[in-house]
């Protein structure tokens, strides 16, 4: 499986990009406030820990079952979609996905596409690719629209413009939307966006949407949204193109409600969203509305690599709720843009290596204290910290790979000095005699401990060994207790 990437990781390092946010107190405060709000909203939806746990187990079981039958479910989905009149396309790489969509646009002679929220379309850099072909792509989700106006990328998978203040959005609208005066009234800003978009929906031949779940037994795609733009994108234009990662398939309709209950509560703290769309094909003869043509583009982009490995398959359980971001002490402090990947936060750290290779993502897999907050809130119980540990091992090639095929970029994050220091560490700590000598020297010559200990002492006082190790104190204690020799 090739990991074809259009845009490699940004040049500036993750460390530098996160540093910029850390040095911006206003931005940090605003992220912190937003994440606190989302955490509280989620918590309010799950008052009973036992019921939450039962629901998470159910969600995990459904996702694991679906992945265990992924190839046959995808075939069943394709067959039923075709039966429903949906045209199905498979894309192994982002470029293939772009070409498929550009091809549909060209055949329809369409110069513009109106998009509902879709992270997979971000992943394949669709807007960019279409614009290069002279096709305009207009985001219709309010957050995505703001991000697009600003020429940025989404900083959160559910709330793309969470990094922007109301005032920034007001200035952006006044500057970029023709005929709009500055207003920081949220209601007015939303009305402005709505008016712009209504006009586009009416005039546009092709609409695009993402997919939250695809049901194999009926050939149905499900779309969760709050703004109604998703329904507009999928019903008003003549052609509806849906795009999804191959992992989103479930077998039965009855698998959807538990996942939906987990998704909306975990994502936005809502028991149910304003809109939930079940879409089972284009307009049928005799029907008065709906698209005349419908397509589903199923994208791999590295997912089969995770699927093929028992140690990384759980990555694909994700239902993209974003709760791991909201609860992550790292994401909370730097926001999503610093990651430089389509998917930020904990889920971004475990999925991006499969999409982009381990070489460009080695900084991301280490950027976690392994605190476990992500795994604790994940609605489908993805063991994110464990996956990070395993990705670190593959990135460093620290020991034989227990599984095949190797990950793209395996070993390319290896730092020779780090590798050497762990070799020495291991030698020292597995030999009681050497360790004894080492701790004797470290405690006896504690005054020689350097005052500067690399990055540790940038923000902390140095670590200085105690005058005697615990081993020595225990020996002394035992000696003092043993009966005196004559």
């Amino acid at each position: 499986m090739s990991t074809h990437t259009l845009h490699p990781m940004p040049q500036a390092s993750f460390r530098k990009r996160s540093q910029e946010v850390l040095d911006n107190p206003a931005l940090r405060k605003s992220f912190r406030g937003a994440m606190d709000f989302l955490m509280q909203k989620r918590a309010a939806q799950f008052p009973d820990p036992a019921r939450l746990e039962a629901l998470r187990r159910q969600g995990e079981a459904i996702r694991q079952y679906s992945l265990s039958r992924l190839p046959e479910l995808l075939e069943q989905l394709e067959a039923n979609l075709k039966k429903n009149g949906v045209q199905v396309h498979w894309a192994e790489t982002p470029v293939q996905a772009q070409e498929i969509i550009a091809g549909i646009m060209a055949r329809a002679d369409a110069e513009m596409i109106v998009k509902g929220k879709s992270m997979v379309s971000e992943e394949i850099e669709l807007n960019h690719a279409l614009e290069a072909r002279g096709i305009a792509a207009l985001e219709s989700d309010m957050g995505e629209y703001i991000v697009q106006l600003a020429g940025e990328r989404p900083s959160h998978i559910i709330m793309p413009a969470i990094h922007k203040t109301k005032e920034e959005i007001a200035r952006l609208f006044a500057e970029k939307v023709p005929g709009v005066d500055y207003t920081d009234s949220v209601d007015e800003l939303i009305q402005i966006g709505r008016q712009v978009l209504r006009e586009k929906f009416r005039a546009t031949k092709v609409g695009l949407s993402g997919v939250n779940f695809a049901v194999a037994e009926t050939g149905t795609i499900c779309l969760v949204e709050n703004e109604g733009n998703g329904r507009m994108c999928t019903t008003v234009p003549d052609i509806h193109i849906a795009i999804t990662g191959i992992e989103k398939v479930v077998e039965k309709l009855e698998h959807v409600p538990p996942l939906l209950a987990l998704l909306t509560r975990s994502a936005t703290g809502q028991a149910v969203t304003t809109y939930f769309n079940w879409i089972t094909g284009p307009r049928r003869p005799g029907e008065l509305d709906g698209p005349r043509e419908m397509h589903l583009v199923l994208v791999d982009n590295g997912r089969t690599q995770a699927y093929a490995r028992p140690d990384f398959r759980a990555t694909l359980q994700c239902i993209r709720c974003g709760a791991c971001m909201n609860h992550c002490p790292v994401y909370t402090r730097i926001g999503g843009l610093a990651y430089g990947t389509t998917y930020p936060g904990p889920i971004g750290k475990i999925i991006s290596p499969h999409m982009l290779g381990l070489k460009g993502t080695s900084d991301l897999v280490t950027a976690s204290s392994l605190c476990g907050a992500c795994g604790e809130v994940c609605p489908v119980k993805i063991p994110i910290p464990q996956l990070l540990i395993d990705l670190r091992a593959r990135s460093q090639a620290g020991g034989p790979d227990p599984h095949t095929p190797p990950l793209a970029g395996e070993g390319e994050g290896r730092k020779p000095l780090l590798a050497l220091s762990f070799k020495l560490w291991s030698r020292l700590y597995r030999s009681p005699a050497l360790y004894r000598l080492f701790s004797f020297l470290a405690t006896r010559f504690r005054r020689l401990t350097p005052g500067r200990q690399g990055a540790w002492t940038d923000s902390r006082t140095p670590l200085v060994p105690a005058p005697r190790s615990l081993h020595e104190l225990v020996r002394q204690r035992e000696l003092s207790r043993s009966p005196q020799k004559p």
């Binding site: 762990f422 291991s426 700590y429 902390r460 670590l463 105690a466």
Partner: protein
């Protein structure tokens, strides 16, 4: 990493007469007093404490940095020390979590020591967990009135599920008022190698944690994990603050002795 709440140990039928004590590499070199205090408390409870001389480290630093082979070599050396069927008490949620939840995976089912590792994993207890759940201790506070804030490590909280046992022990101390901190469950930013691999992020997290602990109004800070303590104490000291955390074993020991 097992983060579900069902990871408590089965309780031994009888009160154990002997335990192994695994001191951890951080306590060994940087805070041996915490280790001695923990051993003293266990002995005062009538338990014989065996400290295997050849112990060093659970292997976690290498394991979480992507060097499982190096971690395994060190962990093998430790597993061989626990030949008797005694509980293994560890004064760190992080190291206990490594031994209990990660060792079986690190060794793998085909390793010659696999069955021993599985048996050891069921016998590993974090220190405060052991005092509360197995020994059911009743502490008599002989200290002066004081206000204490508790920092619980993420491993103790989410991996070992023992965040309540430190709290329960402090709650037994009549003269100790436990005060709350904002965002109690948030990580202090240590994360082992994370603290030097991503120093600015780690420092931002440690700085916020230090602020929250200071704002709690506590006179003393305790924690059951030396990694967090090294990080938090180093951060507090660098900014000239007088609050200095100590291991919960050291603190409990001081409360159980008559004070001058």
């Amino acid at each position: 990493m097992n983060l579900s709440p069902e990871h408590g140990n089965p309780c031994p039928a009888a009160r154990p007469h002997t335990v192994y004590f695994f001191g951890t590499c951080l306590i060994d070199l940087f805070d041996p007093r915490a280790g001695i205090s923990a051993m003293d408390i266990l002995e005062q409870e009538g338990v014989r404490v065996v400290f295997p001389e050849a112990q060093s480290c659970c292997g976690q630093p290498a394991y979480t940095s992507g060097y499982p082979a190096e971690a395994l070599a060190v962990a093998e050396q430790q597993v061989r020390l626990f030949t008797e069927d005694w509980p293994i008490v560890v004064p760190s949620g992080s190291c206990a979590g490594m031994m209990k939840h990660h060792w079986p995976r690190l060794f793998g089912a085909d390793h010659p020591l696999a069955s021993q590792v599985a048996a050891v994993a069921t016998r590993v207890y974090e220190f405060t967990e052991f005092l509360v759940k197995i020994l059911n201790v009743k502490l008599e506070d002989k200290g002066q009135p004081t206000k204490v804030v508790l920092h619980t490590s993420c491993s103790a909280r989410r991996e070992m599920g023992v965040h309540l046992t430190s709290k329960a022990l402090l709650g037994q101390l009549a003269q100790v008022e436990v005060v709350q901190q904002e965002r109690e469950a948030e990580c202090c930013g240590f994360g082992g190698a994370f603290s030097v691999r991503h120093p600015e992020l780690s420092a931002a997290m440690a700085g916020d944690k230090a602020q929250a602990l200071l704002a709690s109004g506590a006179e003393q800070l305790v924690s059951a994990d030396c990694g967090c303590l090294a990080n938090i104490n180093g951060t507090l000291a660098k900014s000239g603050k007088s609050l200095k955390g100590q291991h919960i074993a050291t603190f409990l020991k001081s409360r159980l002795e008559p004070q001058a």
